[in-house]
């Protein structure tokens, strides 16, 4: 976490005097606990989430406090977990299912994109599906192909799901509480590379961070760099690196990936005229492709350079060479320089 990011959080409303040092894991746990205490409709279900507290310990202690009826260790079936969670939501609960790894979400793809995403629309609003699917995603933990993927675009492309990806403990807690209170299904992607890598002061009280709002986490005049999740810190590191070359980068943390806060991105690009997008998901049809298209539609005449995407490669996610796959600062900095000087 850079000073710039932390500094911005100080301006967030609702920040109370009581605070504790938290990782993203403990912040998410805190959010779940806090919502479960105040709203008995909230239930947690998934593989190993109860007794074990999740393979990443995100749900640790919840079963002890709320019992096995509200924190449920399910059989091993993603379509079972999500299908059941949809039924719970239809029945008036606020389920928070966990998919153990984003890479394992695909058996539930049908339930998510054809069912959860479509209930409100296909029933003319008679039925809604308020639930939050928590999903650890991304690389950087030596997980290889089946413990590293970033599947966000697949869910954005199918209308009806909100998709979020916080980058830090403060946002994770506030956005999870917002997501649980949201009346639409939300995919809550948790960058597991950040889970324990970062500690920050997080209010002990309940607070919300509004969904659908990006955040400028570093101000700059020459180039806009948009990122989210774990790669935000690589973008910030690259921005710091190119400062030495005299380049001032504006870094935006998207936070909510869908629906996009394009107003914040457009405003920044109108100022800088230059755009670099960084995400670890593969390049083809990635969120960066959509952002470039939208910027061309909305700010074409402000562009002074071709927008660039620094992303994961269009290969499966590798094990040994994961740091060559990920768009880390060493790949972002040259893109910032090239775009700024174009």
């Amino acid at each position: 976490m850079t000073q710039a990011t932390q500094g911005n959080h100080a301006k967030d409303p609702g920040r109370s005097a009581e605070a504790a040092t938290m990782t993203m894991v403990t912040a998410i746990n805190d959010a779940l606990r806090s919502e479960m205490r105040t709203d008995d409709r909230v239930v947690v279900l998934g593989e190993d989430v109860g007794v074990e507290g999740g393979v990443f310990r995100v749900t640790a202690g919840l079963q002890k406090e709320f019992g096995s009826a509200r924190v449920v260790d399910t059989p091993l079936s993603e379509t079972g977990i999500i299908g059941a969670a949809i039924g719970m939501a239809l029945g008036g609960l606020r389920p928070v299912p966990e998919i153990q790894f984003g890479d394992f979400i695909f058996p539930a793809f049908d339930q998510l994109v054809n069912e959860a995403a479509k209930y409100r629309y296909r029933s003319g609003g008679e039925y809604t599906c308020p639930m939050v699917v928590r999903v650890p995603v991304g690389g950087g933990i030596r997980g290889g192909h089946y413990h590293s993927q970033s599947p966000e675009s697949l869910f954005i492309h199918n209308a009806g799901l909100k998709v979020v990806c916080p980058s830090n403990p403060y946002d994770a807690k506030g956005m999870l509480i917002s997501a649980i209170r949201d009346d639409d299904p939300v995919l809550f992607f948790e960058p597991k590379r950040v889970y324990r890598a970062l500690k920050m002061e997080v209010p002990s009280d309940s607070y919300t961070v509004e969904l659908g709002r990006a955040k400028v986490v570093r101000e700059g005049e020459q180039v806009t760099c948009v990122s989210y999740g774990a790669m935000l810190f690589e973008a910030l590191a690259a921005a710091e690196e190119v400062k030495a070359e005299g380049i001032e980068t504006e870094v935006i943390d998207l936070r909510t990936l869908w629906p996009l806060d394009m107003a914040t991105v457009v405003e920044s690009v109108k100022k800088t005229g230059r755009l670099v997008i960084v995400h670890e998901a593969a390049k083809a049809c990635g969120l960066g492709a959509e952002l470039v298209s939208l910027i061309c539609e909305k700010a074409f005449l402000h562009l002074e350079a071709p927008p660039q995407r620094v992303t994961g490669w269009d290969t499966p996610f590798p094990y040994t060479l994961e740091n060559e796959y990920l768009p880390l600062a060493h790949r972002i900095a040259p893109a910032l320089i090239e775009t700024a000087r174009y």
Binding site: T74, P75, G83, A85, G87, L90, G91, D110, R122, G125
Partner: protein, 377 residues
């Protein structure tokens, strides 16, 4: 198949796992040792709903052939499995449909106009023309929202029942699906989840012999579909799905067990799809006329009619009078639906999310203000 002490001993409990529980013979004579002893007024209500469903199907098939509705998926031959199952549950019990069970919603008093408006996808359609015909939604009837992917409603039904259990509601959930759906991922997951967590779910498996063109024998190598309950540790029973009284007795007993906390039941309703899979299907390609004719002798509507006639509460006159009523209400509903305009163009962008996000507002503007499709809606 043990009888729990909390329920009166029933005839169903006395039959073996493979036997098909039957009350009525093909000529409508009830086996007195198995007759659930329903009030005749209730049987008459079930019969009327079955006959009405049959008549509506016949009319909609014709409308589709005339090009007036786009599509229809009928229930010919399966009316008892659908309607009597709904009748055996309480009105506040949820029913999660596949796509052939609108008869259950109509039994629960979904207004005919609501259904016919859905068939036309007009602006009065509750789903605002967003789905194909017959993909109805019926919250007022505790009837889910019809979806086309096979089996997805089954896991959801487990979740719904689970919610009822956690909220300590005296509510069961019946989920309809066909024999084809037993091969789906969701059937497996749902059976497993329901059995593990003892959710009050009734698995209403309409074994109608065919999944479009694939016969039951090729769908599963199990001797019976009820056998599938064994592997999940779930109680499973078989019942003649063309015998309304047998369906009623079987489902009512399973429901009582479910709400008493004794867990789910897989109910194999042995029936037969007399008509095509949908209006898009031609069953002559894959099955013989003789097979269909053989099953017509088991017609559930005629069978229940004979029962009512034997009880002296139904007659040709009653049949004609009721049929005339249904014809008239259908005519009115169809005329009204045909005179109702399509949904507004703007409505296409609503209900994607609770609040319309900026990108959809923008696309809504572009669509509404942009050039119009040349073909009429």
């Amino acid at each position: 198949m043990e009888v729990q002490q909390s329920h009166p001993p029933s005839a169903i409990a006395s039959i073996s796992g493979k036997e098909v529980f039957t009350v009525l013979d093909l000529d409508g004579r009830a086996d007195p040792t198995r007759d659930p002893g329903l009030e005749l007024a209730k049987v008459e209500r079930i019969y009327k709903a079955m006959l009405r469903t049959r008549m509506i199907d016949t009319r909609l098939m014709k409308l589709q052939r005339q090009g007036r509705v786009g599509f229809h998926v009928g229930a010919e031959g399966e009316e008892a499995a659908i309607v009597a199952a709904a009748a055996a549950m309480e009105d506040h019990d949820w029913l999660m449909p596949c796509y052939r069970e609108v008869g259950a919603a109509l039994y629960r008093d979904m207004p005919l106009q609501v259904y016919i408006d859905n068939m036309y996808g007009n602006q009065n359609d509750l789903a605002l023309g967003r789905q194909m015909p017959d993909h109805v939604t019926g919250r007022d009837q505790h009837f889910g929202s019809v979806t086309a992917p096979i089996g997805t409603q089954i896991t959801q039904a487990v979740g719904l029942a689970w919610a009822a259990m956690l909220k300590e509601e005296q509510r069961a959930v019946g989920v309809y699906f066909g024999d084809g759906a037993t091969s789906s991922n969701d059937f497996h997951a749902a059976m497993n989840f329901a059995a593990v967590f003892k959710t009050p779910t009734l698995f209403l498996l309409r074994n109608n012999g065919w999944a479009i063109s694939v016969p039951s024998s090729q769908q599963s190598a199990a001797e019976t579909y009820a056998d599938k309950g064994v592997g999940y540790g779930m109680r499973a029973v078989r019942c003649d799905g063309n015998d309304a009284l047998a369906v009623y007795a079987t489902v009512a007993e399973a429901r009582a067990r479910a709400v008493a906390g004794e867990g789910p039941t897989l109910i194999e309703l042995v029936t037969y799809r007399l008509g095509p899979h949908t209006t898009s299907d031609d069953p002559t390609v894959y099955r013989d006329k003789e097979e269909v004719e053989r099953h017509q002798k088991r017609d559930p509507v005629k069978r229940l009619r004979r029962y009512l006639e034997r009880q002296g509460v139904w007659s040709d006159e009653a049949e004609q009078a009721f049929a005339a009523e249904v014809d008239a209400e259908l005519k009115r509903a169809i005329e009204k639906a045909e005179a109702t305009p399509p949904p507004s163009i703007a409505s296409m962008f609503e209900d994607v999310f609770a609040e319309m996000p900026e990108h959809l507002r923008e696309q809504q503007r572009q669509c509404v203000e942009g050039p119009r499709a040349r073909k009429k809606h």
